[in-house]
Amino acid sequence: MVAAVFHPLGIFIVALGTAFLTPLLFRKREGFASLIFMLALAAMATIAAAGFLALANGAPTIEIETAGIAPPFAINLRFGLYESFFVFAVNLAALLAAWHYLPRLRKHAATLLLFIIMVMGIDGMVMTRDLFNLFIFIEITSIATYTLIGFEREAGMLSAGFKYIIATSIASAFFLLGTIFVYYQTGTLNIDDIIAHQSAIGGPIGFVALLLLLTSLLIELKPYPANGWGLDVYETAPSAIASMISVGVSAGVIFALYKVQPLFGDFLTSIAVVGGITFLASNVIGLRQNNVKRLLGYSSIGQMGLMVLAMALLQQHGQHTHLALIVGGLFLNHLLAKAGLFWLAGVVQRDTVRGWAGVAGKPLLLLVLGVCLAALIGLPPFPGFWAKWGLVMELAVDNLYGWIALVLVGSLLEAAYLFRWFGHALRADDSEPVNVGVAPLLPPAAAAALLAVAGYFTARSAGVVPGQLLLPVYAAGALFLLDGLPGRLKSLAMLAVVAGGGFWVAGDLQGLNRIFALILVAGGLLMAVATLYRGDARKGFYPLLAALLLSLATLLTAHTSLEFFTSWELMTLSSYLLVTLGRDGVKPALSYLLFSLGSAFLILAGFAVAFAATGSIELAALGNAGDSVPLVFSLLALGFVIKAGAFGFHIWLPGAYTEADDDTTAILSAVMSKASIFGLVIVAGQLGVRADIGLEPAYVLGWIGMLTATFGALMAVFQEDFKRLLAYSSMGQLGYIVAGIALMSHLGWVAALYMTVNHFLYKGVLFLAAAGVIYRTNTRLMYQMGGLIKNMPVTFVAVMMAIIAMSGVPPLTGFGGKWLLFNAMMDKGWYWLAAVGFFSSAVAFLYMFRILQTVFLGQRKLAHKDLREAPLILLVPQVVMLVIILVLSAYPKLLLDPLSAAVAPYVPGALLWDGLALQSHLGYWNAPMIMIIVGGVWAIPLIFLLLVSLTIKIQPVKQFNIVYAAERPHRPEDTHYAYRFFAHYERAIGVLVKPHATAFWSAVSEWSHTLAASLRILYTGNGQTYVLFILVYFVALYFANTGTV
């Protein structure tokens, strides 16, 4: 009986019954009619859900025969796992869309019944197994849609609607013609029967028949360039209707395509090309779009293209088993995310992307928007991520590298315009704030919540255990609930969560991972303590920080490339969002995100190639990739170094580091940047050394590293902004580390890891010190500071020590790094790199001195007279790190021995100790002794001077008591030599630091926009032109495929 109630036929019965009775009910009481309407939609969704659950648990496919006569003689419907999934998803979306749009829908009986019939039509398209019946359902859906598009009767809607009608009518006409020709040849209309008698379809008529069917279905999916009519509708139609066209109608059509695809065996390449062109073109054109709904239209069309592409390619290569996860995942992801976005657009009612500045500061709205956008571009934990992963892996297995590139480039472009929109939404300007209550946000919020749930289940079906892996998400979610608490309390909660979670996840790691765990997790925690210094609410900050730090922890525990990549993307997402929280962080955050995604996609491609070669996603199996090793290594290494800010790809780095909150920057630079080093080490360890690839990629990597070091240092020299200077410095220092790893030798790796630890320590100190200074002075410009040593002596000492540790001047830790690296390079015979290294470390002195001079020394500004020392809680981590620096300086064996042991499994070898002196092939380094001697030669003159001071009178003088060309300066601004400190250097070699990279990437951006402009001129807005495109599309498909059949 239960089965009977939940029989899928009930969907149609409920829908039709409700629709037919609605006019009668409506005449009695509007409210009652809309209640029945909602109940009917809910009932339909419930039936679908029940069916889906049963089928997912192994119930047999339900074959529905009508008229009590077996197919092919009567129409039959099928309700299998895939059908039930699509029907359920569409009905769920429809329910939410109706909820969203009910205030308008309930005004007329016709809108209510049209909506429910439209949904039923889509269900029919999914379930029917009869070709002509499919046509009927397509028409039912279309006609219902036509009216719903235009019923508000505004001029734009009417124009768009009419074009839509004409275009889809042509498509339907093609379908009908194709159907009748198929019938002519096979004598049947049942799809299964047609497929069984596929051999009967042949000759010119069969060819035209198939092409007509194919063209029709493709046109319904709005392929580029024959899709202007669809875009117009997305732009003008009411959001709920646009969402249903985007997710519902398209779902029906794509399922129809799936059903008849066995007929199109010879056209699969064409189909894939159509999908690919559409995906790429619409995402390029999206770059130029400022209208939110049209933007969503481009994205919708692109997503459909992606699904078509995936379906065709997977079918073509017999990957039927993966179809469910990949296309299903992409579909579900698109359905929920796009629908959610359309509804948000309907709620917010701002046409242009810029107008969305009005939503800034609305947490729920932004959360929903962010979730949908992140899902749409395929970030974890949402379904699209797992699906895209699967797609790329399977494409790689079939050696479809060009397609992988297309998918990834398209996704990157999509991210560019979607997150540009998000950026506008984050940044409040003087536009009028949007007034939205909570109630209208519920449907999109429900979509977002469902995305998360769906992500969880997709992850499970992708073979991932989402318990530990998604810990960052859970933690962020939990902390987000506490976001109303006072700032410091939240900070403490965050620390507790990170400490607990981090220990749980990464507590029992060994070897190399343990070392990185100490830097990334323990170190990150130490730096996170500093967040206590600001007591304000910092909405969203603490959850994101927890997510970032925990994703670093999960990154370390990854055994498979999927786990690794998941954590990597979570890290990308959370760090991106953290950067947006900075005062002017939105814009640089976008370029940070794009470069991060670009690098992530390279990594993804690398993993995919490795998977194709080894058949395994175990990280440990990377080395078995055989001939693919150089390619895998190059892709992965390039991905990691881009994320590390490698020269040429660095342009995201200064902006992101500068504009993020000060303590965020400290964590990004000191801690998170090490994640890419970790990745590089893992990859190099599996590939570079073990598989013994040729030296060429490693040598290139070494040069990338050293050039990064040089240009990072050079660019740091010319910065006026404290944090920007440190950002470039970070870039440069990471360059050394990359070069060290590239050496692929024991000593080189020890050097790299030693520098990694060291960079964490001193850059942490420097950025936290900078945070303190900026906190007190309220400026980041160094020439506006000066003389702060008097006010902030502890900070000064910290900075000075950190700078000595960074510069490589003995006796602090920096020298060890330089010594190890130089020796390793000479060992390897990389003399030129060593020479460049010398130069860049000399250049580094320039900016290091500049920090000390212009911030802490020189003339203090009058306004800064009463500044206090930085907050204590900022100083605590600095002091802790300084103590570590001192200990490691005096006794580096403490660090070097574990490092050597940790890298030994990858790069065999050992450090040669002579007592406390480290020996290399060339030289020796006795750190404790150096410490003692330097201490001695420093202490003795000091004592001497102190003794002298006892005998004479040392008189402290006032600030301006200097001999200054016979005048006494009276304003510190006149006397503080700080602005354009190295102007002469710029005159000498400034030509080297012309922003070529920035110019290049601007040109790339400019070029893509120009491309977008020239691709979209086809969208003239003229309905007849659009019809013409459809005809041309048919003709083109015909002639492109003549000869294949």
Partner: protein, 308 residues
């Protein structure tokens, strides 16, 4: 570690004394030569020592703050420390100093120690010219560091060691084994770098703020100045010793050392009196051109001709 620290320290003290005094005398000597070239009489040989004693006995001093106070200390620690890591007389345990603590890399990097400290001290005085001078000095340093590093790499490659003692050892057995003759290209690059390092004309623009009676030397006076002057002599001599060790076969006795260092120094002086001063950007660009090319050539030479 079985180092006899007392013995070592005592020996080093002796070296320090000898080198400092030698440096002071040589400073006076050079001043006299320059004076002769310029048609003056010049200072007496004892003048540097008198200067130091004189400044040391001033009874008043001012301080701009703690770094100002510590600046000279850093400075002289840099000088003394650098000397400590350089073996002065080849084959003499007594005058090998603490060269067991580290190799050539250590010396090269430790040379920055004093400069950094001095820069900080001068910086705290709040005097803009101090900052200008330092900014220029550092910029020039990055420039001459390039040929210097290249020539150092060349000789490290040539002798396959970073240990200064072993580099000297490899040059023993006659003048023909000196780097000067086995690898003249590297020496040429290094000597050009040396011109920049010593800060004589034409590469002395970064000292310009000191020439008018203002700037760091006037801010630093009395005991501070005595330390600085001592260091000037000491550090200069140490650099000469280092160059002698690397390129001119080292010295087996004090006399050889005196002659060789004097000769090296004379190169700088000869150039200095003959050429007018470069602007800072000119001097930076200079080092990036010819000297750098020579440095590159020296490595190529070593790779092609000397190492297999």
């Amino acid at each position: 570690m079985d180092i006899d620290w007392f013995q070592k320290i005592g020996n080093f003290g002796l070296t320090l004394l000898i080198v400092t005094v030698y440096g002071l005398f040589m400073g006076a000597f050079i001043e006299r030569i320059i004076a002769k070239v310029q048609g003056r009489v010049g200072i007496p040989y004892t003048q540097p020592i008198i200067n130091i004693l004189q400044t040391l006995t001033r009874r008043t001093a001012i301080s701009h703050g703690i770094m100002f106070y510590l600046g000279p200390v850093f400075r002289i620690a840099g000088g003394v420390g650098t000397l400590a890591f350089v073996p002065v007389i080849f084959g003499s345990e007594t005058f090998s100093n603490f060269s067991g603590a580290g190799d050539l890399m250590l010396v090269i990097y430790f040379m920055f120690f004093g400069q950094l400290g001095m820069a900080l001290g001068a910086g705290e005085s709040g005097h803009p010219y101090a900052a200008i001078g330092i900014a220029r000095g550092l910029s020039q340093m990055t420039a001459y560091e390039v040929p210097f590093a290249l020539s150092v790499i060349a000789i490290v490659l040539q002798y396959d060691t970073l240990s200064i003692t072993e580099i000297v050892a490899a040059q023993q057995g006659g003048w023909q084994h000196w780097t000067l003759f086995t690898n003249p290209i590297a020496v040429a690059a290094a000597m050009l770098a040396f011109l920049g390092m010593t800060g004589y004309s034409p590469f002395d623009i970064f000292l310009a703020p000191q020439e008018i009676p203002i700037g760091p030397p006037t801010e630093f006076h009395s005991a501070y100045l005595s330390l600085l002057q001592t260091n000037r002599a000491l550090f200069g001599a140490t650099k000469l010793v280092l160059f002698m060790n690397l390129f001119f076969g080292g010295a087996t006795g004090w006399v050889e050392l005196a002659i060789k260092t004097w000769a090296i120094y004379m190169v700088a002086i000869a150039v200095g009196v003959a050429f007018p001063r470069f602007r800072i950007d000119q001097s930076i660009r200079f080092f990036f051109k010819i000297p750098t090319l020579i440095g590159i050539a020296s490595i190529v030479y070593v790779q092609m001709a000397l190492v297999r």
